[in-house]
Symmetry: C2
Subunit: 200 residues, 2 copies
DNA sequence: GCCAGAATAGTACGACCGGTCGTATCATGG
DNA sequence: CCATGATACGACCGGTCGTACTATTCTGGC
């Protein structure tokens, strides 16, 4: 791996940090250059435009999420165990982590890009639609495995599951609510309980 | 009411529109002045600083939310009826509305301000904590009225309720999911069903 | 119908924005 | 060991930002 590629990755890593707190628009070349001790122009030489940088940041965040949350779940037997692993990793992901001090970048930019048409929005929206589809497939797997009721609506389940993670980040980051994770786990257990077959 | 006050309100109204799409940081004096056909300096004379403008915008949004969502619910008999009215108005509020084309401003700025310490963040966080407390009181009212189980955790109920509204806005605005409202209603009914006393 | 004061516009400022340019330094293959 | 491309630098571009000061226009009470 050449030196240039290495530097580029260092830039993107730092850019992800910055964007997780300041957003993709709040991310500026000047602040980023200062943050890694480079000149603005030297840094910019690694990208064709600012949007190119933003896209790289977004792709890096999506990829990291896939590795951190999706892959451990996909490696777990389907049905409830897989969903539990998914939830645990997702919850851990959304905690404060040094490489993303502003919380999950993908949540941060979701509200930022939703009114800003363009390739960035398209990229994020497609990634999130794919992710939702993954959740739906996982939920359906719970039905197939016999862990969940046959009448379960997998799309609704996925909707409710993502809702929990969304509000958890909100409660933790804005409200500073120490009960956020506790509520998240309780809500997840309630979601699973409602999905279980009726035990009569 | 003097002409100045009137103009100030016109400015803030337009600023709420702009901020609902571009965020409080994306809101700039230049764009705002163009948007209402005033000079930047003439507009600025109505505020001590940009932060003063932002605070006014935030306060206006909070007040509008209170009138649109809280008051109809507070005017309804407590317990399940009140919560249903609350949910209906909240869902309607989060739809596209001309005075807030970018969706609920308070959700938009929640992720924007959560990493940006200062009076704006404090104002928003306190308003949202107050709102959560209102939800908790309403949920507790459901228990008192006998509509909900005595063991219901009101804080968890409020957490789950707000989660539904949060993900609904997300699905509608970013994913363009036409099922968002349908899922929202279904999730709300499931939340109520789980809160009801056991009918054995 | 004038005049005080409010309301708006004009002008200028320093800082920072994304981006370009020419140049210097570095790494490396021949 | 030198030539050459990769990498990074500082200076600078036109524009926009928030904000300050000044000048103009509008408006309502006498």
């Amino acid at each position: 791996m050449g030196k240039g590629t290495l530097t580029r990755e260092r830039i993107i890593g730092r850019a992800v940090e910055l964007a997780s707190t300041d957003g993709l628009n709040g991310l500026t070349l000047g602040k980023l250059a200062d943050g890694i001790g480079m000149s603005k122009s030297g840094l910019f030489a690694h990208f064709r435009s600012k949007e190119d940088l933003q896209r790289s940041v977004l792709e890096a965040a999506i990829d990291a999420f896939r590795r951190f949350v999706y892959e451990p779940a996909a490696a777990t037997p389907r049905g409830e165990p897989r969903l539990r692993v998914l939830f645990d990793h997702w919850l851990a992901w959304s905690q404060e982590r040094e490489e993303m001090p502003g919380g999950c970048l993908l949540m941060q930019v979701s509200t930022e890009l939703d009114d800003q048409p363009g390739p960035l929005r398209d990229l994020l929206a497609q990634a999130k639609r794919d992710w939702r589809q993954t959740l739906i497939v996982f939920a359906r797997g719970g039905v197939t495995a016999g862990h969940f009721r046959a009448e379960l609506d997998p799309a609704l389940f996925a909707f409710q599951l993502e809702a929990i993670l969304l509000i958890t980040g909100h409660d933790r980051r804005l409200l500073n609510d120490p009960l956020a994770s506790t509520h998240a786990r309780a809500a997840f257990e309630a979601l699973l309980a409602a999905a279980h077959p009726i035990t009569s």
